[in-house]
Subunit: 243 residues, 2 copies
């Protein structure tokens, strides 16, 4: 059991990493993030979780396309290209399953926080992006925080989007309480908590959609370190009653 | 624009409120929470968000039933009683819409963190419970933090549960960025963030499922104060492609 597991119940702090410059294809994202964190007075430790919006990962990886900004259909075509399967369609709204297995609007294609006329695609392999970025942070700082790459997804049945994990490295994304006992000594039978999604949601509170703060550090979270990935957060089609 | 709206980008802190005793029907929950918070050195302000798991609200409101602990069918019968509509059923798994409109497993009926043989029901009107509890906190402390009552719900398409808001008072649960501009001056067209759900998820990081910490304070969140409620988080059937 690592230190992050055994810490006593205490506060959790979300620290925004401000001052990350515009990211361009080929940029060394780890370097930009570590430099901004250091300038913000945030010295990352291996118990922290570094949370990064996929937008800057997609930019660094060149997953940006130019489309005619006045041509709504062009953006829809890109979304259909990115979709492995259309789950629902109504009017201009497309809910699609991506090649990774994520179910989200427009297969993750998005035009916000980009130059006019650009759209971003999700990283090809967000778990791999997370592992690579984590390795770079370790190389630069000597510390290896767990790493979560996020996107904001809508949900069935509930209004509004929330930030979720689409790439994970260095932690188990799901806390499995099955077999453990609750406060009354009663076995918890069916409870698994998607802790990586909860950390992603928490980080959004300091990143904000319109603020241009694309990364944050979550400190004090009791998570389990290990070789986890965000694919474990995708409900397999045979277990999914809504796919 | 209130102070909570205008605060500069800064850290968000989640503070667990430890030491809340077992709650019994008729207990003054506001008093128990304020006393434990004070003993924990947490002086709530009106900019804070007080997050409370529905379990202790249900207990205080007497929404507890006794069932034969060895009779799984009895628990299912209670869930069916609580359901306004069955959304999906497979084996022992029941996804139901509650009278409030929430879509969740077993219509919110749950046996964890209760005496063996007990099950809890959701509060009859969680928004009203939130308003009442907030009024009591204001009466006791002179401060009126926003208030969120939570439950952990599963999701379509994704593994694991996350904490969400089922009752809200003193804040708008959804941040609507439509019409505002992003970092590049491009209008954000479709982004609404379910901030009350993100705060609920963040609070779960310090409450924990097995820890018996049923309340937490979220400090530093830039939310909008106002007469919000959790019903606004329920996607209306005509807008819902998955109901």
């Amino acid at each position: 059991m690592s230190h992050a597991d055994s810490a006593a119940a205490g506060p959790v702090v979300l620290l925004p990493i401000v001052g990350i410059p515009e990211v361009a294809p080929g940029d060394d994202l780890g370097d930009l993030i570590v430099e901004a964190a250091t300038a913000s007075g945030i010295d990352m430790t291996s118990d922290d979780v570094l949370v990064v919006t996929h937008k800057i990962v997609s930019k660094a990886e060149g997953r940006i396309l130019e489309v005619d900004p006045d041509d709504v259909d062009a953006r829809h075509m890109v979304a259909e290209m990115e979709a492995a399967r259309i789950v629902r369609r109504r009017g201009g709204l497309l809910i699609a399953e991506t090649r990774h297995g994520f179910v989200c609007a427009n297969a993750g294609v998005d035009a916000s926080n980009l130059e006019p006329g650009q759209v971003s695609l999700l990283p090809v392999d967000p778990d791999k992006s997370a592992r690579r970025l984590r390795a770079r942070v370790r190389q630069l700082t000597g510390h290896a925080p767990a790493l979560i790459i996020t996107d904001t997804f809508g949900r069935a049945w509930r209004v509004g989007q929330t930030n979720v994990a689409i790439g994970v490295a260095g932690m188990l994304p799901v806390m499995d309480y099955r077999g453990s006992v609750d406060h009354f000594g009663v076995e918890l039978k069916v409870t698994t908590i998607a802790i990586a999604d909860e950390i992603a949601a928490a980080a959004e509170l300091v990143m904000g959609k319109a603020d241009g703060v694309p990364a944050a550090v979550a400190r004090g979270v009791r998570y389990r370190r290990g070789r986890g990935n965000a694919r474990a957060l995708i409900r397999q089609p045979q277990d999914d009653l809504f796919r």
